[in-house]
Amino acid sequence: MVEIPPGEGVKKLVSREEPAALATTAEQVDVGRRIVLAHGGGGELTDELIRGQILPRLGNPALNRLADAATLEVAGARLALTTDAYVVQPLVFPGGDIGRLAVCGTVNDLAMVGAEPVALALSMVLEEGLDETMLQRVLDSIASTGREAGVDVVAGDTKVVEHGRAEGMYITTTGLGRVLDGVSLGVDHVEAGDAVLINGAIAEHGLAVLSRRKGLSFASDLVSDAAPLSGLANALVRELKGVRLLRDPTRGGVAGVLADLAAAGRSVEIEESAVPITPTARAAADLLGLDPLTVANEGKFVAVVAREQAQAALALCREHRLGAHAAVIGRVTDRQPAIAELMTAIGGRRVIQKPYGEELPRIC
């Protein structure tokens, strides 16, 4: 056995001799100064990466808003632009595959800023050795999901990398959208008294994907909820002028969205027993030691709606295939400093915070 000497491989942590000199603010990213998996988890560590490394170097007014999609005024038109990389493992999971995700995720980001999808650009990095039938399957998914969402892939790129460098394939999708007339969504519009809604049951995507991960001998009836939400979301903002904000609870889950709201100065109170979840998802989360509020969803949005329009919003959602189990889960309050609170099923209260990043199935 050859021991790798310290200094190579793992960098020493910042000196422990003077704890007072260590980071005291959230801006400093300090986990031994290497990127760890949790940086991509959509939780606290991702935030630190964005605020600590990316914004200081690339920041500008549009980017700094950190919305699901950027909204830009171009020659009098209000356009939305977004991009996402899809690195899901395994490539195929119950309810979908990376291709379906690649369309839904991007279309949904556009929908979250009140935009209808106009066009997609697709870039694929394929691993040497990838089975052609897998590629065909993924392309077919992209095509059919595109049809479902009413949007085409108009530009693209394909690269191939050596075996071992892409785990099958990675896809990046860029989406262009047109913000619907008169629609302006954002946390600035959120007010105390507004209702918080979700269009259906949570945690299905993340748990369905985990059930296919190697090394977890756990299978499930759960199926990913991946779906393009533009139809429902666009209808909602067209019909109801009281929709303040839409956010899709992907990585980081519903907890991430609610914690973000609190970080932006808006307190929310959520009723745990009002949050829709199937018994199967609840049991799977219990089994894996995960909090369902922190698990990714790919066919859901959290909507903040003026109180007097909450019932109308609910009715609209419930008429739609993707909103059959929509529910009001809580409300915005005027509590300051702002926090996201959960009223638990037994009448207790506790804080909702953003997860760390990599929600590892725990056992003990």
Partner: protein, 358 residues
């Protein structure tokens, strides 16, 4: 169900009024710590009932020396460390297992001891080391994996284990006197293995009530109510509200398995020091599977990170906000000590659910 909760709450309130002053109940188990927070139970307690989190988070009480050994081991060529999720982020002087992985070391999170064995079967060219911590609930699984490895002659598998036993720690906590404890909420699933009678010495020698408790909120509130009632009455009894899963003698088969493969040793507990007969080490007959022996590792007494007060948090002597590092230097994204790393660590639970009072 809300009527049941309401009734219990009223009973708990009456009991707490009958008690003289503050009643301090320790929930020993990390899963109880998390459930209490997640269910918002603290917000339902009467003002004079204090819940103290105990040393029931296996990752939190693992000695710093053991963590150092585990991390250094992964930097050896040809070694793959398989471990439960919580262990990967505990910081050692040279970084955590997670950071070692980011630097190229082979570290894999497994769900069960048998999964670690499967990894060894599938990777014959690698030395697979199962890094195992945990109490009596988890030790039988490690024992089972060792026996299976022996039966199937899997040579590239070994175990780096620091399993610990709960009752010796409870006794040490009371006799050590670092913190006053009036009664114990006993861990439900450890009790499945060891049986409710295992807590008899705590009741009889130390005069403290013990209630074996499951993890549903009703169970927890029921248990708290009984413990407060006992304290108010000045009686110490052994009770069990988790009869669905726990009986008096426990799981004999699991106990025999532990006994066959392990023997007791004086383990080092963060915050409690060395406690006689509180740990498990592989018996001579199974030392071939002991990673300490196989790799010539020595458990040092590595110092804990400067300023870290996990030891005092674990024993209930202080609450997380009383640690100067809490929520400034030490946070879940940049943990200093294991109480902040582990999803069952008191500091992490506090930070996630209680940092802002609701």
């Amino acid at each position: 169900m809300s009527e049941q909760i309401e009734q219990l709450r009223q009973r708990l309130c009456s009991a707490s009024e009958a008690a003289d002053g503050t009643v301090r109940i320790m929930e020993v188990c990390g899963t109880h710590t998390v459930e209490v927070f997640r269910q918002g139970i603290r917000s339902l307690l009467p003002a004079n009932v204090k819940l103290i989190s105990g040393p029931g988070c296996p990752v939190c009480v693992t000695s710093q020396g053991f963590i150092e050994v585990a991390v250094r081991l992964t930097r050896q060529h040809g070694v793959l460390a398989a471990t439960y999720g919580d262990m990967v982020r505990v910081p050692a002087a040279a970084g955590s297992l997670e950071q070692a992985r980011a630097g190229g070391a082979r570290v894999q999170v497994v769900f069960s001891a048998r999964d670690a064995l499967s990894v060894a079967r599938e990777s014959p060219k690698l030395e697979v080391v199962f890094v195992a911590v945990g109490f009596e609930t988890t030790a039988p699984a490690t024992a089972d994996a060792v026996l299976l490895a022996e039966r199937e002659k899997i040579r590239n598998f070994s175990v780096l284990a620091e399993h610990k036993l709960v009752v010796p720690a409870m006794l040490a906590l009371v006799t050590g006197g670092q913190t006053r404890i009036d009664g114990f909420m006993c861990p439900g699933h450890v009790s499945v293995i060891i049986g409710s009678e295992a807590y008899r010495p705590v009741v009889e020698r130390c005069g403290r009530g013990c209630v074996v408790t499951g993890f549903e909120p009703l169970q927890i509130i029921q248990s708290l109510t009984r413990l407060v009632e006992m304290t108010a009455e000045g009686t110490a009894r052994l009770e069990n509200v988790y009869t669905a899963a726990v009986n008096a003698e426990g799981n004999r088969r699991a106990q025999q398995l532990i006994d066959q493969v392990f023997e007791r040793n004086p383990a080092t507990w963060r915050g409690l020091g060395q406690i006689e007969g509180s740990g498990l080490q592989l018996r001579q007959a199974y030392r071939q599977f002991d990673a300490f022996e196989r790799f010539g590792l020595v458990l040092g007494t590595d110092p804990e990170p400067p300023g870290c007060r996990c030891g005092e948090v674990i024993t209930g002597a202080i609450e997380p906000p009383q640690c100067p590092l809490f929520d400034g230097v030490c946070r879940p994204t940049q943990p200093v000590g294991p109480c902040m790393v582990s999803s069952e660590g008191t500091c992490q639970a506090w930070w996630k659910y209680h940092r802002v009072r609701v």
